[in-house]
Amino acid sequence: MARFQRSALPGFTPALGITLTWVSLIVLLPLASLALRPWSLGLEGVWHAISEPRVAAALRLSFGAALLAAAVNVPLGLLTAWVMVRYRFPGRDLADSLIDMPLALPTAVAGIALTALFAPNGWIGALLTPLGIKVAYTPLGVLIALIFVGLPFMVRTLEPVLMDLPLESEEAAATLGATRGQTLRRVVLPALAPALLAGFGAALARGVGEYGSVIFIAGNMPMRSEIAPLLIVIRLEQLDYAGAAALALVMLLVSFGLLLLLNIMQARMRRRP
């Protein structure tokens, strides 16, 4: 172990042993069984399991709504993070700890609470019904739930970066005659771009797999408001294990692909001066 352990501290081997055992049993073994299971259907069977119209519709809704929700959270999160970092006002600390509410609240609780709020006779739903807007039991409900759970990811990714942003560059821009709006657009926003992308990716990843906060408000109509994770549950209930695994594998691969793409974009942005 000499090559590994150039430290005077004890306990490396047992600590690494426990960690590797735990990671293998809890993470690697289950995920490996997921990766191999779909192929018991054969290549054609796997293709059939992931290309049915109902599956395609569910995947489109899960990824589409997650992308849209993450996009809505860009301005929303930017505004919130800016106010929390740059301004001092009474109640700021309370408001700041409130931002984690969507993650602290168990998803099932968030789900039934949002449903109660946005149902046609709910506090918010009753205001929207006269305008002809239906949220609960439609794809719009899925979007609302995903914006709700995604917001903390955007805000918490932006806050530390905003805190570390040097005020000097903004002062310099102002000295050179830029208006405040120009400074924000040309100096602050480009500096935040990598963090915005990172927050977007985190919100997206969460949204694609989100289950508890969505299924109550979605109405779960096949082909219309049925999300992919719910379809996995339905297949399991029909004892179609390999079909469920095939769908899960597709979701995982597409998510990882998207995250990888966002990571590459982020790295490029950081390299540019």
Binding site: L9, L16, T19, P106, R156
Partner: protein
Amino acid sequence: MTQTRPTQERPATRAAVIALTLVLLTGFLLLPLLVVFVEAFAHGFGAVLTALSEPDALAAIRLTLIVAAISVPLNTVCGLAAAWCIGRFEFPGRGLLMTLIELPFSVSPVVSGLVWVLLFGTNGWLGTVADRANVQVLFALPGLVLATVFVTFPFVARTLIPLMREQGSAEEEAAVTLGAKGWRVFWHVTLPNIRWGLLYGVLLCNARAMGEFGAVAVVSGHVRGQTMTMPLQVEALFNDYDWVGAFTIAGLLSLLALITLAVKAVLEWRIGEHGRALI
């Protein structure tokens, strides 16, 4: 402060932006919390007490506590072990190990449950092993614990590793030089230094363990009074149109969320805002 500095917005703009944000935050983040309690108490205090004393509700509360009581300590010990080797030593593959530890966070809750069904269900790799040992894993306590452990696995390690790397190992090395042995170094030097961070990780781990829905929904089998945790009981009651019952249990879980957020804020003040992590 009447004059605007070049790096600030005009006071009127600032006030408008703050007001807009606060309205959005209360509308979006506070109303869902409020509606839970309003719906729970819609038929008065007595109805809440009745809902709470239902045998199925009590069984769900008990099961949630048992699952958390097993999963959280397991993940705390393993999180500490991971933090010790990744946070204190350099070795090839450290980054890869860290990625593997954080992997469960990027997996859908439903898939986190599904993997255990695949492993222990019909034709699963470990199905026959469990059968031979006469252990019922799926639709029973072991399955609920495994799903919860998978979902909450990263919390402790993820909070401790950046903290321990930032602190460095000078103090521990000094203790070793002075002749302290393994566990003594850990108890008397490391633990006092990381205690707030450890508490923070355990807090987030526990909140998620008690509130997890998707992963346990898949492995539970939904046997009322037996394999239903509190979030699952919320779903069952809501689908039965028992709103008072559903929102009463949801209210208990919301109280847990509020307490978690309050303790989290206190701990963040202890460890500094840069040590902050997401639940």
